[in-house]
Amino acid sequence: MSAQQKVEKKKTQKEQTEEVTKQFNEFVESIKKSTGLPIVPDMKSGAAQWIDQRELTLKYVISVDKIRKFFDGLIDGKLYATKCKQCGTLYFPPQVDCPKCRKSDMEWIELSNEGELLTYTIINVKPNSFSHYDDYTVGIARLKEGINITAWVRETDPKKLRVGMKVKVIVTKREPEGYLTYELEPLTS
């Protein structure tokens, strides 16, 4: 997207959704006030729709206890995988159990950060919880060690990307949330 288009772009996907939702909720409230029921006609078909009076917010609590080392690595700007001491299988994302030998004897291996882009896409229509971001590129790269990594790619112009191009993994802070993550940076050569 050019700089000019960016200036002209009025609202983010999030702002648009919020505006539509707000207008709709106000409409439902006004109907409910006059009829005593939260039933409104569907905009297109006119069919009667009961608007749910309950709301469920989901936010999960996920254990990262056993792979804490991976996240500590990010604090030091490092990317870790696990390697089974018995069979040598490399795991990324890291996992502490080797299902192949049913052993849980792993070592933490620092990855090289150098890889090659296997594929990519640019997310134009975003999930609700990502709707505050501009369009972002997600890629999968194969690292030198032979494992694949999924991450955002620091380039949103598809013309500047190609399958097979060299990329570097960079530990970075995801804003506006402000937590450590990693991204793929295309290397121009």
């Binding site: 996907q13 569907d42 996920i62 594929t119 975003k126 609700n128 999968i140």
Partner: protein
Amino acid sequence: MGRNVAIIGVGHSKFGIRTDVNVAELAWESTKQAMENAGVDQKDIDYYVTSNVGAWSSEPLPAVVVGEYSDLVPKGTVRVEAACASGSAALKLGHDMIASGEANIALVVGVEKMNESPTPTVVEFIGRAGNYFWEFENFGLTFPGYYALYATAYMSKYGATEEDLCQVAVKNHYYGARNPKAQFQKEITVEECMRSRYIAWPLKLLDCSPITDGSAAIILASEEIAKKVTDTPVWIKAIGYANDTANLSRRDNFLSLRAAVEAAKMAYKKAGIDETDLVKNFDVAEVHDCFTIAELLAYEDLGFVKKGEAVKLIREKQTYIGGIIPVNLSGGLKAKGHPIAATGVSMAVELTKQLRQEVERERQAPIKKGMAIAHNVGGTGHYAYVTIFSLDKPRR
């Protein structure tokens, strides 16, 4: 293994945005049709399988809500989830109940009411359907995004173009326009498809199947019963199945859906089908075209053509009626619509009607070999089911 299983009745709701019905009413639409089509009552049904992914719709235990509304209490039931392949997984369970001798007549009903939630919420839910933490939480992948990763890799390797992908949509809308049950009954052109906005580059709006409400139902019966109640049983000849990693990054390449390849291999082996010149075995196929790239991958994963040759099939219109194998004469997920857990059952309904030569004339495949194949993928190649239907009774 076990007893022969036949489809003796089918039902199919109108697919689309069904604001006129709730989940239970929608399920009943196709259940009622299937029971009437088979000439059976609730009392004849030994077990029913309810296929539903849900989350976007209000009933967390859809199987019991469907049972209460459809007067199926106290029959045994279960809700089946295999993402977009739930319908085929439900058919597998219904099949096994009969093959094993546990039941003589079973109902399989797939129902999905995705429009009970606003579109951004549905996009959110489906995006979360990979490896939640390593793909969604951190990188916000969407469902079109996952398939776009396949599209980019495929196009880069085999020189397929965005226009080639659009050709799939054009074909499926052509047939969807002739299917009164389809969500979109309107033809489109390659130009219109190319002009539609990007959803997940390189996939555009018209490369994507819609958000759909719908239901489909089938009645399965043992050989003994099938012979008594119908002259045209459609036999389930073989079912192949497989799965693949949740996390896309744990797959070797993005040129093929491994689960679909494995499922097809299993189905062909069980059916005793010679894999040289495979297409010769089938009159018609329904394949999982949730995105246009998925249909191209299906041609190759099912072995209709060699790797990298799917584009040639669509360019030469070989998957229209008159070509080497007609594909998605229902309009496919693309134009018929994709009510996630109803899709697999809908494929079975369509192929049953194709084999019985009961679909609208303009989209009826010529039936010469009496065999049809369904390819139903769940998630982004996470689950795959390949089902072979036949007018000839399988030999056991």
